[in-house]
Amino acid sequence: MPGLYAAGEVAGGLHGANRLGGNSLGDILVFGRRAGDAAAAFARTDGATRAIDDAQIAAEQAALLQPLGGDANGSAPAENPYKLHEDLQLAMQDDAGIGRSEESLQRALAAILTLRERSARIRVAGGRALNPGWHTCREITNMLTISEAIVRSAIERRESRGSQWRFDHLEQDAEFGKINFVTRRGDDGMGVASVPLIPLPDRLRPLLERSRFYDAAKLPKGYLTETARAVGTRRKKK
């Protein structure tokens, strides 16, 4: 989308499979600067003034205002956005945490899709001024999208890597190390595609290859597998 710039962690993917606390500082500085420079340059070009489709604006406004619009359609009762938020938290916490499996992820996906249906009926009281319930309506809509993208991609990644422990695929798989999963909105919902990683510049590759995490064969014996297996068995017993 021309003119849209991202700075910070939302720029995505910088830290690979794991993301340690404090790493975001690097993202903030590097991408803040790059996005700022690029946005300033873009603002000076002709492309910066462009016609926006009025119909799109109207549709977006209608979507935003819908939760303020009185009764929910149909016979089903209106939904409270905070309830949806809590239910989504529980579903993600229980089934899409660091330790996950195909089974748990499918459960999470089913929960998300049900919540999405319910989200069509969110209604809140009050007006547009500083109305946190209304803000939550927007947030929950976005959170459902993000959660679905996370879960669908996690299902496809049949390996354990970084902060994903797949109880049903305990090993790191070198082939998965060469691709990213990208989610796109399609006509019939969200689709996941695998795209090859952009090769690292030559000057950086030796750095990464030295890391024992780059190549599963170099991982210390028992790393991941033992702990994950223990947690996995305990979970299954429940």
């Binding site: 409270n80 309830k83 009281a125 946190p132 979970r235």
Partner: protein
Amino acid sequence: MAVVDQPKPSVDAPIEDVLTASGLTGETLTLRVLKGVPGGDTAEVAYQVPVVAGMVILDAVHYVQHNLDTDLACRWNCKAAKCGSCSAEVNGHPVLMCKTRVDDLPAGPVTVHPLKSFPLIKDLVTDVSRNYEVNREIPPFTAAPDDGTPWRIPQQDIDRLYEFRKCIECFLCQDVCHILRSHDYSDRFYGPRFFVRVASLEMHPKDVLDRRDQTRDQGGLGYCNITKCCTEVCPEHIHITDNAIIPLKERVADVHWDPVRFVGRKLFGRNAD
């Protein structure tokens, strides 16, 4: 990865069950929140909130938002007493809602009101933009041109500045100070938060500007009569009055009321200080 043994509430469990799993005490708190917008009716609305062990007032406000009144406006962000957003007056005391435990308050209804010294926007949200204007009036840290030598700053100076650096801009001190609260002198009085900022700049050994006249003339430092109410409410425990305001007053007095320096300045200019 924590393994939770206790039974987990199902995804569709009502909020009460979720709370039971996380420690409902069985008590009920009556929260009387001031609701309203300027020019409209403002009135206390009473809400009944089930108390959870360790609950803070911000939790109770969130319970109200989630379950009883989704339209109740309040600012918050970190829930860790670090962002300075959730300032309010609880039982009449200016506090951070996220740092005020329900079990620390006397039994009975608890009132939650917006900060009184700032214009109301809605419910618990006030317009604190005057503070940002004042902030912009204070010239920022300015060092002498770099001459290539590394800075050496004595540890005492660092410690002194670190205290002021702890400020989270909650503006509780601005709220409680009678110069702003009762006299409404926000147009001629910077307020304790900004005396802290000026002090941190004036006491920085590498800063070369002089903000003393400005602090006296536009900042209204003289209005402060050292009641220490600001110090009392500061959640970061900054000794605002003792360590920032009084030393600033002394520095201003040095310029304007020390007869020897006064004569020196008349004869030799500002550098005679």
